[in-house]
Structure formats: C-alpha cells, structure tokens
Symmetry: C2
Subunit: 309 residues, 2 copies
C-alpha cells in the first residue's frame, strides 16, 4: 500500500464485523483480535463501524468505545477508514472528531438515511455542516453510497458539489451499490478519486480503472484472496485470481450475509461469542450453516483457511 498526502490509501479494506456479548454490547477484546487477524491476513487497512460492523445498532458511547479500544491496542489508525455516519448531525460530528483525536484521518460517512428523497441541497447542507464543525484540514471523508441499505443515494452531482466546496477533504467513496457503472463513471469524472468497491467482486475492475481498492464485508473472510488480487493486479494471473475471489464473494452473499460472516469468523477463531446476533440481524439456521460450509469448499483458495479453522 502506498499512501501519499494527496492520494487515497490503496488496497484491500475489511468492513470489520463487530462481535457482541450476551448483553448485546460490543466485545472489544474479540473485535481487536479480529482486527489483528485481518491485518495479518491480507488487509491493507480496516474499515470498522460500517454496515457490516452494525454501527447503526450501537449507541454513540459503544461506537466511541470501539475507537478507543483500537487506539489502546495500538492498531494503525492511519490505515483505518472508520464509519462515523449517523442521522444525528451531532453524533456524526462527535464520531468524526474521535477519529481525528485517535490519530486517524479517514471517516466513512453515510448520508442521513432516515429521511427519504431528501433534496440535494439538504444533503449538501448536512455534509457541509459536519465538515465545517470538524474544521480540520487533515480530515479525509469517504462518502458511503449504499442505496439498497440507506435508501438515500450519494449522487455524483452531490459529490461534485462537495468536492468543489471542500477539495481534498472529499477524498473518496465506498460504492456498495453493486452497480459497477457508478464507480466507473465517477472515476471518469474525478480521476484519482478514492473509489472503493463495496464488493471485492469489482476489485480488479476498480484498480484497472484507477480506483483505490475495496472496502468489503466479505473480506472479513476473503482477505487473503483479495490480497492476492491486489498484489498481482498488473500481472498476467490477475484475472484468474479475481475469478476465484468473485466465486467466494458470490457464495457468501447468497446466504444471510451478516449471519454467515459471523458464523465463519466464529469457526476461524473458535470463539463462539461471534455467533450471538445483534437484532434485527440473525444467526444462520443449522441447515444454512451446513450449506454455506459445503458451498465454500468449492473455492480452492479458501481451503487453507477452512482447514485451519
């Protein structure tokens, strides 16, 4: 991973899962252990407290607690893009300030997602207010485009307006739309923009188009395979590696996504705490679990991982 002051960090980021205890509060210890595993197994950086991290199910105090735990554990905050979005303006500001105070600069910001069909002016005003309250030129904001989940798209027109007003602070986007054209068009409009694919299915396409990499939920498991693609993206074998990575991703997303990933991390770590679901997300049913494990055996590159577990 190369990081220059004016260009976004490149590579494979995991949208880190959040384990919870029986009291449904985050378990910082298991979370930190998993962060370390990810960094040791192919992740160039971490993107905790996003959708997969169930941040919107956590209170402000719980989210701040996990950021503090990361600092306490000596994790490389400069290689993190931390989810700080909230419909509540004051909370989005508090969380983003916490990222900077923790030595990070990257924040992944959802639009205020409760309100549907907001005006572009209204969304601009929200993001502008966050940026101006932070008032720190080190801040690098990544806008979170996930219309299927947030129901509020981050349009290229809005990004252009924000970029015109706030320059380098508007550092990139996480495109979880599943529509490769969104990223492709954006990179044509803003060359060098820090565009991360929300699915590693588009990792190679994105790197070839000048994008930054991926921030994906399923790289909680597929990090070693995604890393192989990233390392080899300019080499002849890249397409075959991407094909295998895509195969893994497509299997994972054919099952209840959150529950499936937690199931796999539980198996990987031997820590059954990972199996506790945080409502409304749910755990896999026994039959789903068996099916998922059976299907993943088709992916050759995951063999060492599943065998070690």
């Amino acid at each position: 991973m190369t990081q220059q002051s004016s260009s976004p960090p490149r590579g494979v980021y995991a949208a880190v899962l959040t384990p919870v205890g029986a009291d449904l509060a985050p378990s910082a210890k298991a979370f930190i252990a998993h962060c370390r595993w990810l960094l040791a197994n192919g992740c160039d950086g971490l993107a905790p407290l996003g959708t997969t991290g169930e941040a919107n199910s956590l209170s402000l105090a719980q989210r701040l607690g996990l950021i503090e735990a990361m600092v306490g554990a000596g994790l490389p905050m400069e290689r993190c893009i931390i989810g700080t979005g909230s419909c509540a303006l004051a909370d989005a500001v508090t969380l983003t300030q916490a990222v900077l105070a923790a030595g990070g600069t990257g924040a992944l910001l959802l639009p205020p997602f409760y309100y549907k069909n907001p005006s572009e002016d209204g969304l601009f005003a929200f993001f502008a207010e966050v940026i101006e309250r932070i008032g720190d030129p080190r801040l690098r904001l990544y806008l979170y485009h996930f219309p299927q989940m947030s129901a509020v798209p981050v349009t290229p027109a809005l990004i252009q307006r924000l970029k015109a007003a706030y320059g380098d602070t508007i550092a990139g986007v996480k495109d979880s739309s599943g529509d490769w054209n969104y990223t492709a068009n954006l990179l044509k409009q803003i060359p060098g923009f820090g565009a991360y694919s929300g699915s590693e299915q588009f990792l190679l396409d994105n790197l070839r188009a000048g994008g930054a990499g991926c921030i994906s939920a399923s790289t909680n498991i597929t990090a070693p395979l995604a890393h192989a693609v990233f390392r080899a993206w300019q080499q002849p074998g890249a397409d075959a590696l991407q094909e295998e990575l895509t195969q893994a991703r497509l299997i994972l997303q054919a099952f209840p996504f959150q529950g499936g990933l937690k199931e796999l991390v539980a198996r990987l770590t031997g820590d059954r705490q990972w199996l506790t679901p945080l409502p409304p997300n749910r755990a896999l049913a026994p039959a789903e679990r068996e099916q998922l494990f059976a299907r993943l055996k088709e992916v050759r590159g995951l063999e060492p991982l599943l065998k070690a577990a």
Copy 2:
C-alpha cells in the same frame, strides 16, 4: 378524552415539531411553548420526537433533554406518546426508560430502520429485547408503521406475535402508510387496538372503525379542525368537518412537509427561530411559501388561525 387502564387514550395527537437554534440544537423553550399551544388548541395529547420532530436527527442527549424539559414544564406526560425509536437497541431502551421515569407510559417505537428486508424473527427479537430490558408492566408501546420513511414495514403478523407474547404492553400502532386498509384490517384482527392514523385525513374513518384517533404532523397546524371532528364524530355534522380537515391536510402535504409546517408555526408564534431547518430537511423557498399561504386561505376553518398570526 377518556383513558382506561386497558384501553388506549383517544383523540387528536400532534407529532410535535422540534425548533432548533442557529447551532442546530433543539430550542427547549420554543418547543415547550408550542406544546402548550397545541394542548390549548385542540390536541388531546402530544407525540413529540417522531419523524416530524426530527428525532432521528438528534443525539440521545438532545432527545433526553427535550423529555426532561417537558417534565420541568409540567406538561401532562400521561397524555404523551413519545418517540423512542432508534436503530441502536441501547438507545431505544434508554429513551423508553426515560419516558417511564418522566411519568409517562406511552412510547412510539420505530423498527430498526437502517437494515432493509429484515426477517420477522429479527424484528421480533429487537422489540422483545427492548420490552424485556424495560421490564415495566406500565409500559404502553405503539409500533410505528411508516414504510415510505422507515422502509421497514411493521406487519400485522409481527404485531400479532408481539401481542401474543407481551399482551397489553403492545398497545397500538401509528399508521403513517397512507393506506387506510392497513388500519382497517388491523382493527378487525385486534378489536380495541390503539390505532392512530398518521394522517388526520383518516380520523373520522378510524374513529368509526373503533380506532383511537390520529397522531399527525399536520395537526401542528390543524389541531383546532381535528378537534372539531373528534368532538363531533358521532354527530350528523362530522363528515362536513372531516371534509374541511382533509382539505387542509391535502394542501399541507402538497408542499415540502417539514418546511411548510415550520413556516406556519413561525408565522403563528412570530418566532423566526422556527425557520431554521435541520439538514437534510429544508426551509421553503419564498415562492413555495407564498403559494402555501395562498392555498391555505381556501380552508375556511383555518381563517381565525391565519388571521391571528
């Protein structure tokens, strides 16, 4: 308004707007003044901190602060149904506990709305967890069905499951779907259920079907007209009164809803603070404002209100 221990409070509730200062934090003083105006002008009860109250744009501390301000002002908490929904389980619990600590019993709870297409099991688990953590038989939960905004419907099947498990605690529903059949069917399934129409357009239909009344955004303005319908609902003139109320509602919802209502309260109170929008909601443009005021002159029953302003 008659209230029995086992039946929901009936009547006209306003989904109270939240004024904010230049710092975009709630202005408790203007909020309380408006609460008092509503109770003096036709509201049987108040429903603050819902969608119209922009509660999801406020931090937990800001929401708790408004509940405290209501208690401090001596408002009748037993006549309030307070929005306590949050995607964050811990926050939904804290807010609902605060309602009970404040002497209220009614809480209006959204489903955890960030996650789309959640399973019924997952939603049941969320609501069950809130109820069991509260563990107080006085609690009266009203489930908030607003699929256009939350994107997560509260299905009759889910309500039946919750009611079977938690009896009187599951006291009713706020139906903001705009689909009268939702309420009509629910009242057939659960006679005496505390069903409130999210639009006063359905107030008379709802009362005749055995429903409880309305909890509406636009009753921030139309409370006197809605009160007239509620008072007369079993009398011959009820339909004509409902017709006028519906006319007012339809005009109001033809404009940016939030901005229009705040514009009108600003005019009513002479307090320009009401004009400050909380992003992503926006204020009316001057032309919209003129149009709105012109259209409302068509509603005879609003004349005294607009003249007094």
